[in-house]
Subunit: 158 residues, 2 copies
């Protein structure tokens, strides 16, 4: 019994809580207009940022001593992603000029959404927290960044 | 590296997210008066309830077939508590008339709080989500319940 419940909660607790948080922010915070939505997105991004910072501060010292920027990005794609989403990022690309494209072909926070092009506009609210999470973790690792997300077709996300 | 990060996030992700959620609800939702606080508490309790229901729905079928109420309570104290808080409940008492007292001597969501009697009044906002979580899980297991929390001295909680 232990194993099953453990597995259940690892992934599910965070995902369910995240979903509730998005729903709660949307029901109480948003004016119907784009101004209200922008506010809710930035609240979610800020929460993600602080959680990312806090997680980053718990990392063992050797993790904090990455020499190369690319190593940090690989750490996010492998270790952080597994810790939070129980899967690795599917690909990492870079232009070698400080821009990195991380692609997840089945992003867990999008999987529960109904799919179909008409739902694409709903996607940003399921991505804002995670953008902040990456930005916050990077910040603790000494890297200032700008993190944005885009979805061309559900549940893939860059 | 895998193990360390895994351990880090299991416990920390939920706790940090919970903390952010409490802070967010308090900063935006609460009138300074008791009415506003009550509203935020019931929002948190409701979020916990829905997360508990959702977790409960993921339980394997044999878990749902508990015969005795006491078995369900033991399940909450052992398996659910470990899955969510990485520890077991410290004690479970009952009057054998449908009332159960669950005691956690170092409740993780209270541990980060400053301790001292003057902080006791802050405690309810760190307990509301978990009360809802228990009520929601019980509800999925077919038990209607009333769950309240009390703190006599931090970080112990009944």
């Amino acid at each position: 019994r232990w194993t099953v419940v453990g597995r259940m909660a690892d992934a599910a607790l965070f995902e369910f809580l995240h979903m509730e948080m998005v729903a709660e922010l949307w029901s109480h915070h948003s004016d119907p207009g784009p101004g209200g939505q922008k506010m809710s997105l930035s609240v979610l991004e800020g929460m993600g940022f602080r959680v990312g910072q806090a997680l980053g501060e718990r990392l063992p010292q050797e993790t904090l001593a990455f020499r190369e920027e690319l190593d940090v990005l690989k750490f996010l794609c492998k270790d952080l992603w597994v810790a939070v989403f129980q899967k690795q990022m599917d690909s990492l690309r870079t232009n070698h000029q400080g821009t990195y494209v991380l692609q997840d072909n089945s992003f867990p926070l999008l999987i529960r959404m109904a799919s179909g092009p008409q739902y694409l506009e709903e996607a940003p609210k399921f991505l804002a927290f995670t953008c902040g999470l990456l930005r916050g973790t990077l910040s603790t690792l000494g890297i200032k960044s700008l993190v944005t997300a885009s979805v061309a077709s559900l549940p893939t996300c860059e």
